[in-house]
């Protein structure tokens, strides 16, 4: 998400950068480009108009600061405005009450059920909360089954509605259960509904009155176009929304809906769904997103990701092995697995600034497949071979290639690279951690 919007906007600033002196004309030209870039990213027209208006006012009327070039000055204004448009700093969920009730609402197909499970896992893993999932979608066939299956697969608790077919009754019983059994949070997955469907909008309003939720999150598809504003407005007229969860951001949508929604709902995007797996939910940081859109990088998220997914103890063990030069092919495989947990290389590199010395780096794309093939080769070796690859002769190579679905030249390449690595380590001075 945001990648191509980011590219477009950076081009505008590259052109501005050449100007030593910024006139109103230059600002207008740049804003025209930004307007098109935002519209193509599906930001709502009214939001675009307001945004360019504010930026123009601030950029043109600003006093000239000698420390900044004119282009940098405009960039600063745009960054500040983008951040405020996206909702400022990240806002955590309000989990003070016990049980806290979280209501997920939205259109059909926006991803509520998957998000309910993702949010539950997030709260359990990162905040150590006891979470009860509540299936309140009684319309879509098998929606209850879906939530229960997701819960079972991820060791989460799901309320069993038995034969109850009324959403309202399910929520009433589930909240009672949550109180009785001391859950910290109850996440209610409601049915998807069209904002023009009065009957169903009444139902969700009733659920809200009954459940008295602390958080009402509007779940929206990041690929939504101009209509994001209409549905969000309608939902926020009926329910006091407290935030937005944006789903499917791992596609190539330009993410304009994020800007429109935050503006219209007047509440920030709190989480984004970043993949198909239940663990693929991230806290959304508006300030960092703004900086990413402008190509200034988001190193903070990268650091958090690395520290979340890597095990410190394991890292130290590995360092010790490297020092003693006891690093084997098996260790190499484990390292690659750890790297893979972080996501694809290109998604990691997306966090780096696209201006300055790291610019070239962000163009590198290492296919995920490559590491998988290396893993397969190592997996097809015998323990003895992994311990001492020198014993791998021609016939062993053929066997490994067959077993891993690769070719002998690929295995030669792996062994050569591993040999070079070992040699380099020998020469390396003692590393300190």
């Amino acid at each position: 998400m945001f990648d191509s919007l980011s590219d477009r906007i950076q081009r505008v600033f590259k052109e501005l950068r050449g100007e030593g002196h910024l006139t109103e004309f230059h600002v207008d030209q740049a804003l025209k480009e930004i307007r098109t870039a935002l519209l193509e990213a599906d930001v709502h027209l009214d939001v675009v108009k307001e945004f360019t208006g504010t930026v123009r006012e601030k950029a043109v009327g600003q006093e000239v600061l000698t420390a900044l070039s004119p282009a940098q000055q405009v960039l600063k204004v745009v960054q500040a405005e983008l951040t405020s448009l996206l909702g400022g700093a990240a806002q955590p969920l309000n989990l003070k009450r016990r049980p806290t009730v979280v209501l997920l609402v939205g259109l059909q197909g926006s991803g509520k059920t998957t998000t309910a499970a993702k949010l539950a896992l997030h709260l359990k893993r990162n905040l150590n909360k006891q979470v009860l999932l509540v299936p309140a979608d009684t319309f879509r066939p098998a929606a209850t089954e879906q939530l229960r299956t997701l819960a079972k697969e991820n060791a989460l608790m799901c309320f069993d509605p038995k034969t109850e077919t009324k959403a309202l009754n399910r929520v009433r019983a589930a909240v009672k259960d949550a109180k009785l059994f001391g859950y910290d949070v109850a996440i209610v997955d409601t049915a998807g509904r069209m904002h023009v469907d009065d009957e169903l909008m009444d139902e969700v309003a009733e659920i809200k009155s009954l459940a008295d939720p602390d958080e009402i999150l509007f779940v929206a598809d990041s690929m939504t176009g101009q209509d994001a504003v209409n549905s969000a407005k309608a939902f926020s007229n009926r329910l006091p929304l407290t935030g937005v969860i944006l789903t499917k951001t791992d596609g190539d949508a330009r993410g304009g809906a994020a800007l429109s929604l935050a503006r219209v709902v007047g509440k920030p995007v709190k989480f984004i769904g970043v993949g198909e797996k239940v663990k693929d939910l991230e806290v959304f940081h508006p300030d960092r997103a703004a900086s990413r859109i402008l190509g200034l990088g988001d190193v903070l998220t990268l650091i958090e990701k690395v520290s979340q997914e890597t095990d410190r103890k394991q890292a130290l063990q590995m360092a010790e092995k490297l020092r003693k030069n006891e690093f084997t092919l098996l260790d190499l495989r484990d390292q690659m697995r750890q790297m893979r947990k972080l996501g694809s290389f290109s998604s990691l590199l997306g966090h780096l600034p696209k201006v300055g010395p790291l610019k070239e780096l962000s163009n590198i794309d290492i296919p995920e497949d490559a590491t998988k093939r290396l893993e397969a080769m190592i997996d097809s070796m015998t323990p003895a071979e992994r311990e001492d690859p020198r014993i791998i002769d021609g016939s062993r190579k053929k066997r490994i290639a067959l077993g891993s679905g690769t070719t002998v030249p690929e295995i030669n390449q792996l062994l050569r690279q591993f040999g070079t690595m070992k040699k380099m380590m020998k020469g390396a001075p003692r590393m300190r951690f």
């Binding site: 193509e40 879509r140 098998a142 101009q226 949508a253």
Partner: protein
């Protein structure tokens, strides 16, 4: 197109009603733009452009449509005494209809083999519901129909299709969750041949068009279907959610590349979304829109008609 049969008339009325609901806002805006005295009035043209952008046609297409209107208004000889408002409406209708008329149609199904239809799309567009609706239509018209539950990934997707199968009295060919979808398609094709079924509707898992490996899975499903039944899949329908913005174009491009899309289905047109991105999609890829969904029931899936759509968009 003949509108004299009562059934067709009913459908058209429904189409208009469905679109009227979704296009109220657009029509009021365009209507306002047209009613302004055009000279051509730059403010009216701007309002028109904005109305089109708000319908998700995208800034580029919006500009092209506005240019066409501008040119027509200037052309005194070509207007043949039409009032401004009629002229603008006619230009827009003609332009929209032209853009929505595709040059390709799916290849004919060889005689004596079951027709295989593959439903594809990103997550949450309504593939399973649309699959069920299409199967119900075919079954109601007297055809022998099979459903194939090839979404083995999403939790309870198989159950969801089975519920539809039970409701409609249609056999569902299924495997266990997590099974190879191509294997499900293989079995469905074999079953269709053995039972001499008329058509098989294959519901696949939703996938984002950027996931290379999942897109390759579709190519594999195609291969397997083609090996079992000559020419299969005979139709590949890309299901698009009307709320989709300009990302719809990227979806259409990628799915066409991997899955060989032959037609589009635009769902959830009963909200306020306009799905204007189909103008750009049909124009670039020359793939026709086949159906639009305007509600939850089986009857709410309508045949698409470019002219009726254009008229509904512009006239209301």
């Amino acid at each position: 197109m003949s509108t004299d049969t009562p059934q067709k008339k009913g459908l058209l009325a429904k189409l208009k009603r469905g679109l009227f609901m979704t296009h109220t806002e657009l029509i009021s805006r365009v209507g306002g733009a047209i009613k302004t005295k055009l000279g051509p009035d730059p403010r009216a043209l701007e309002a028109l452009e904005e109305a089109l952008i708000a319908a998700d046609v995208g800034p580029a297409t919006a500009l092209e449509l506005v240019s066409a209107v501008k040119a027509a208004v200037k052309d005194e000889a070509g207007r043949k005494g039409q009032e401004d408002i009629d002229l603008v409406k006619n230009v827009l209708k003609a332009e929209i209809e032209r853009r929505l008329t595709a040059s390709t149609s799916p290849p004919a199904v060889p005689a004596g083999v079951p027709k295989v239809l593959l439903m594809v799309g990103v997550n949450g567009t309504g593939k399973t519901t649309t699959t069920a609706k299409l199967a119900a239509r075919a079954s109601q018209s007297g055809q022998t129909v099979l459903l194939a539950a090839a979404d083995t990934f999403r939790a309870a997707a198989i159950d969801q299709l089975q519920v539809w199968g039970d409701r409609l009295g249609i056999t569902v060919i299924k495997h266990r969750p997590g099974a190879d979808p191509a294997a499900v398609v293989h079995d469905a094709c074999t079953a269709a041949r053995n039972r001499k079924a008329d058509c098989v509707f294959v519901d696949t898992a939703g996938r984002l068009q950027t996931k290379t490996n999942l897109m390759e899975e579709l190519a594999k499903i195609r291969r397997i279907a083609g090996r079992e039944i000559p020419g299969a899949p005979h139709e590949v329908l890309l299901v698009l959610d009307a709320v989709i913005g300009l990302n719809g174009l990227s979806q259409a491009r990628e799915f066409t590349k991997s899955a060989g899309v032959t037609g589009l289905v635009l769902t959830k047109m009963d909200g306020t979304a306009k799905g204007g991105v189909i103008l750009a999609i049909v124009r670039e890829l020359q793939i026709p829109v086949k159906y639009i969904g305007v509600g939850e029931t089986v009857e709410d899936l309508l045949d698409f008609d470019a002219r009726a759509f254009a008229e509904a968009v512009v006239d209301g």
